[in-house]
């Protein structure tokens, strides 16, 4: 579904990603783990076009992403839930969802998908008229995920969905991820909360200073002593 081969990227003179090759198959939940500054967020930004890659190739279902303008990447079926959720704080929940359905193909299905995300997240329906900035952290994460689903994506990129949330809420957020997976979405998730994310992922890539160090089934990474010591504090 998603294929990256030999992707380099960086900010100005600083190179953040070195020769990244990876793939995501339909129906999978793939995690990218790694410490702070390893390039996890950069990787997602490159895939969704927020940051241009400097070399390499990238495609979504055969469509070259490097030749697609950033605002049209969503039309290939990739929706990105950015780090820190990035809701529009002074728009209502429903307006946030509506802008998630901005692309022409999604506008036609707005009502249908709105009903779907409200069913998935009943809390959002209760708060539909409220300004998104007044939601609690967990609700904001729900709204950010729902906004991404409004475009009708095949692949959802999740950037640190548990960041800045209380432990109880973190568990709920991972539950949300399980739910959207059950709905048939493919997920590429970046997380610092390695222990939790390996429980829900099929496979994981380990990213270290901009390079992929390992790519294994999640269960094997969980069992690896190195990972347990370095990232799970066991």
């Amino acid at each position: 579904m998603l294929e990256l081969s030999d992707i380099d990227a960086g900010y100005g003179g600083f190179q953040a990603l070195f020769g990244i090759s990876m793939s995501v198959q339909p129906g999978e939940v793939v995690a990218v783990i790694g410490s702070n500054g390893a390039g996890k967020t950069t990787l997602l930004r490159v895939i969704s076009g927020l940051l241009p890659a400097s070399s390499g190739a990238m495609s979504m279902e055969g469509v070259s992403l490097r030749q697609t303008p950033p605002h049209r990447i969503i039309e290939t079926g990739i929706a990105h839930v950015p780090e820190g959720r990035r809701l529009f704080p002074r728009l209502s929940v429903e307006s946030n969802l509506k802008i998630g359905a901005f692309i022409p193909a999604a506008r036609k299905k707005f009502e249908e998908r709105l009903a779907f995300v409200y069913e998935l997240f009943p809390r959002l329906k209760e708060r539909r008229a409220q300004l998104a900035g007044t939601l609690s952290g967990g609700e904001q994460q729900m709204c950010a995920i729902a906004r991404a689903l409004m475009s009708g994506p095949k692949l959802v990129l999740l950037d640190e969905p548990s960041m800045g949330l209380a432990p109880v809420i973190v568990a709920q957020v991972f539950d949300l991820v399980r739910r959207i997976r059950r709905e048939g979405y493919t997920v590429l998730i970046v997380e610092q909360n390695v222990r939790q994310v390996l429980k829900i992922a099929d496979r994981a890539y380990l990213l270290e200073v901009g390079r992929i160090k390992a790519s294994e089934p999640a269960a094997e990474l969980v069992a690896s002593d190195e990972i347990r010591k370095a990232y799970m504090g066991i």
Partner: protein
Amino acid sequence: MDCQLDIFFLEAVLNGLLLAGLLALLALGLNLIFGVIDVVWICYAELVMIGMYGIYYAHKGGVPLLLAALFGILLVALAGAVLHQVVIRPVLDSAPINQLLVTGGVLFFLQAAATMAFGVDFRNLGIRFGSITLADMSFSYSRIITFGVALAAMLVLWLFLSRTYVGIAIRAIAQDRQIMPLMGVDQRRIYLITSAIGGGLAGLAAALMVLQYDIYPQIGLQFGPLIFMICVLGGLGSLIGGFVAAFIISEFIAIGGSCFATEWGYAIAFLFFMVVIFIRPQGLFGGRS
């Protein structure tokens, strides 16, 4: 000078209200541009002037007034889009002072060009709608029409911004620019649409102003500072703030003008403005300074 709470005072208050409609419409366009694109069109009132000349010459050339007004709106909407593409886009990432200077340059260019093209004469359409007398108060129909049309236009714009995809994208972009591509929104297109809407509002204001005011190349100097002051008082970029500030300022002008002299009305309004800005630099409704 006499300032009793009599019927003339009420007349001044109501006239202030009527003026506020026009000023609010003018402030709305400037605020919309600033809120979305983060650039101040110092030459906003000069766009209005272009629209007034366009309507004047179209009408003198035989075009019915309503069609001439429509022509003026489209003309200034186009001017707004061109201003954005040609002048603003190249400096979007420059320092704010450069953006101010470049639109300031456009201001003087338009004034000079209008002076050369149309001369320094004061022109007007010579249309008189007459006035209505209520009790001992008199209100001109052109002011009443202006107020009604301005309010209606603001209502339409509000519906557009709160109901349509493009309208919501315009509000969203003012809140978080960087992630707009993730929503499938082409920022350049939204900027262009917003510029055309901002221009269209200036064109509508022009269509209303030709009913009341003489047209001359420096008319922008009469309204420009006033519009700018209203926007800053309300909080630059705040649409609601601009609306409220327009009413405050025009009441100062109207009541001050009625009690003392017109010039005093402006002086008091600007004095009030300065006091507010000392206390609340971000403006009455401004979130950012």
